[in-house]
């Protein structure tokens, strides 16, 4: 509650000082200024109230003068009064003058006849002997052209203010004319022109008597009797004077002549009527103001302390709860609803507490989860350790298997090398075969050529045989001729004939032999040609064989390179398998390490479970809404 007191004191002091300063700084100079300007404004008010009356009297004055100075009136008064036409004209004019100005009536009085017209009617004849008519003769004898007179008129039945004006012809006064103003109207006018209740407007005659006044009691009194003490003039105001009235306090007096009538208008009014209450500053009002200010200050202090200290107390309560670990607290809704910084503070405070509560509950849940999951993880890590040990065994087996694989690959490599040697031999053989086949083709071609040569030789033999045959024929022919010759020789030619016939027989035989040789050679030519054809037909076959063998040779060579590549590949495979073996051994070692690490992980997770339990205990310090501390 300390802050509330301090806050209230502070605010009160601030407010009081503020009010005092504002009074000093604001009201006092204002009062001075207003007093300074007050009299001017009061003067204006006085002038305004006087001027209405003055104007009215001045208008009556002017109208009376205008009527009296009308030449028709003077003419009518000097001439025959009975001239009704002129009389009516003048009288109607007078009535018109009166009615125009709003005055009650007009009047005309003739000196010579003494007849008195009120309005357009002849009322009476004035006589110097009658006391009531004395005013007429006073006016006639006056040295002033216009005189004012307040009188009761029997005919009119009312008191009027008379504007009596001399009707002049040259210097001679031939009559009196003028207008009358009902005194009731004047009084009413005076009363209407009074600016305040305690002030009064007075019509004062030349002797200082009040003849008409807004105050009925003042009529007939001397103006002087209304003033107590001596009036003092006010600086800056010409017409206004001031005196101290015992009842009303400072009072203003202003007197002014109405034209040259000898009458004057006076204004008497207390200053208090025109001064606003706060300027006067009486003791009571100051007290009231002080009390009011104290009330206001108290209210303001209470309001402000209620408005600003209460939220702080609420926040304080919240913070204390928070310090005690109570997370179920929240700011009052009315404070949170505020739109200013305090509202924002309350909202953020509430949000913080809510967020903290959710975080704490999450932490609790997480701690629970961590505890249970770390148990699971511990068992999982143990299982993992066992599994990885199994993996280590398996990878050892894998290593053994890889070693066996490497051995097998080496065996395969040897086999493939042997195969490669075989294929190489194959290739060589096929190359040789190819060579032989090519040679055989060449030989066959040569054989064919030889056969052709043989055929040619045979043909030549046949030709030669033909020559022999020809020789034989010629010989035959010769033997024939010889035998003819022998026959012609007769007995002497007998021996010759025998010789000739023998020669003929030889020729025959040689011819036969030649024919046989020819036959034989023809046959051998046929045979040789056949052999040649066969050889010729053999050549492409042999060539084809040679080509095929060549292809076989090429294929074998390719096979050879293929097996070499296979050999390389197997060698690579061998190294890879060996690497595999070493890697799997490493793997085995690594997995044993991992197994031990998994065991460590299991232990660590057990430690983690213990930590989670501790965390859970620590978090139970906070009290949540639902009481869900566990």
């Amino acid at each position: 509650m300390k802050i509330r007191t301090a806050f209230s004191l502070f605010v009160a002091v601030v407010l009081i000082v503020g009010v005092a300063v504002s009074l000093l700084m604001g009201i006092l100079p204002a009062r001075e200024y207003i007093q300074k300007n007050f009299y001017a404004s009061v003067g204006n008010i006085v002038d305004a109230s006087k001027s209405g009356i003055q104007t009215e009297i001045a208008r009556g004055w002017e109208v009376s003068l205008a009527l009296a100075r009308n030449p028709f009136l003077a003419d009518w008064l000097l001439g025959d009064e009975r001239d009704t036409a002129a009389g009516r004209k003048v009288l109607s004019m007078a009535v018109e003058y009166a009615s125009r100005t709003g005055f009650s009536s007009s009047f005309i009085a003739n000196r010579s006849t003494g007849s008195f017209y009120s309005g357009d009617k002849l009322m009476q004849v004035l006589s110097p002997t009658r006391a009531d008519d004395s005013w007429f003769f006073d006016v006639l004898g006056s040295d002033k052209e216009l005189t004012l007179n307040l009188d009761y008129n029997e005919q009119l039945g009312s008191t009027s203010l008379w504007f009596n004006t001399q009707v002049l012809k040259g210097r001679a006064v031939i009559g009196v004319a003028g207008i009358a103003l009902s005194i009731d109207k004047v009084v009413n006018d005076f009363k209407a022109a009074v600016p305040s209740a305690n002030s009064g407007l007075h019509l004062v005659d030349s002797s200082g008597m009040v003849v008409v006044s807004s105050d009925d009691e003042a009529i007939g009194k001397e103006l002087r009797s209304l003033i107590s003490g001596t009036a003092k003039s006010i600086p800056g105001l010409a017409d206004v004077k001031t005196f101290d009235d015992p009842v009303l306090g400072p009072t203003l007096l202003s007197e002014e002549q109405i034209l040259e009538s000898g009458y004057s208008i006076a204004f008497v009014g207390p200053v208090s009527d025109f001064v606003p209450s706060f300027i006067s500053l009486s003791g009571g009002s100051i007290l009231f103001t002080a009390v009011f200010a104290a009330l206001v200050v108290t209210g303001a202090v209470l309001f402000i302390s209620r408005r600003f200290a209460a939220p702080i107390l609420e926040m304080n309560r919240l913070a204390l709860g928070l310090a005690a670990g109570d997370l179920s607290v929240s700011a009052d809704a009315s404070i949170s609803r505020r739109k200013d910084e305090i509202g924002t503070l309350a909202q953020s405070m509430s949000a913080t507490v809510g967020r903290l509560a959710s975080v704490v509950s999450e932490v609790q849940a997480t701690a629970n989860k961590v505890a249970s999951e770390s148990d699971e993880m511990s068992s999982a890590a143990r299982q993992m350790a066992i599994g990885i040990a199994g993996i280590a065994d398996s990878s050892q087996q894998l290593s053994q298997g890889a070693s066996e694989q490497a051995a097998s690959a080496e065996q395969v490599s040897a086999s493939v090398e042997q195969m490669g040697a075989n294929i190489k031999q194959n290739a060589d053989n096929s190359f040789q075969t190819e060579k032989i086949a090519t040679k055989a083709a060449g030989d066959a071609r040569q054989g064919a050529k030889a056969v052709a040569q043989t055929v040619e030789a045979m043909r030549q033999i046949a030709e030669k045989t033909a020559i022999i045959e020809e020789i034989a024929r010629s010989t035959n022919m010769l033997s024939l001729n010889a035998s003819i010759e022998a026959a012609r020789a007769g007995e002497h030619g007998k021996g010759f004939a025998v010789v000739a016939s023998e020669v003929g027989k030889l020729a025959e035989r040689s011819k036969m032999a030649a024919r046989e040789i020819s036959e034989l050679s023809k046959q051998s030519v046929d045979v040789a040609e056949k052999a040649g054809l066969m050889l010729q037909s053999m050549v492409p076959d042999i060539q084809k064989t040679a080509e095929l063998v060549q292809e076989i040779s090429v294929a074998s060579r390719e096979q050879d390179t293929g097996t070499q590549q296979i050999n390389q590949a197997i060698a690579q495979l061998d190294t890879v398998i060996q690497q595999n073996a070493s890697i799997s051994e490493e793997y085995s070692a690594t997995s044993e390490q991992i197994s031990s690490q998994a065991m460590m992980v299991a232990e660590t997770t057990e430690g983690l479970a213990a930590q989670a339990a501790k965390l859970k205990d620590a978090v139970t310090f906070f009290k949540l809404d639902g009481g869900a501390t566990e």
Partner: protein, 175 residues
């Protein structure tokens, strides 16, 4: 006994006495004669001498004998021997030479085949039948069979006479 040289013309065999034969020549080119007759066909050269060559086929073919029948003549083993003999024989020009002035000093005959010089006894030659017309009979002296083959012995003096040759050469009867 007389000796005869045998030869063949158009498949018929003839014989001529050797005394009329000058020599036998291998076939050689014959220069044709302008406006030649069918009998004297041209000229040939014999050891520097120009000898006329005649072809007696037309006069010898006067008698019409079917070649078919000729071909169908009966034959046996002898026929085979003939054939062999025939095969050996070759064509040539036989140059005749006359003893008297009836014949041209030299005249050649183109033979399809020239046979051998054969010895014939006079009884082996059968005479020409009498009922044959003169024109036919005068060309032949007789007929004989050598190896089963009938040979006609030509009367060369008549066949190669100027009359025969030139009448034919003038283109009258044999043309």
């Amino acid at each position: 006994m007389r000796q005869y040289l045998t030869f063949e013309l158009d498949g018929r065999r003839y014989g001529v006495p050797v005394e009329f034969i000058n020599s036998v020549l291998d076939p050689q080119s014959i220069t044709p004669l302008p406006q030649g007759s069918t009998l004297v066909t041209g000229l040939t050269n014999v050891r520097g001498n120009v000898v006329p060559v005649f072809d007696p086929r037309d006069p010898l073919r006067r008698t019409k004998v079917e070649d078919d029948r000729l071909a169908k003549r009966p034959g046996g083993q002898d026929a085979e021997a003939d054939e062999l003999e025939d095969e050996d024989e070759e064509g040539g020009i036989v140059i005749f030479e006359s003893e008297n002035g009836t014949l041209l000093p030299f005249i050649g005959l183109q033979a399809d085949k020239i046979g051998k010089v054969v010895n014939l006894e006079s009884d082996e030659i059968s005479p020409v039948p009498d009922f044959l017309p003169n024109d036919a009979t005068k060309l032949f002296e007789g007929f004989c069979f050598i190896g089963g083959v009938r040979h006609s012995i030509i009367n060369l003096a008549e066949l190669a006479s100027k009359d025969t040759l030139f009448s034919a050469g003038e283109g009258s009867r044999y043309a």
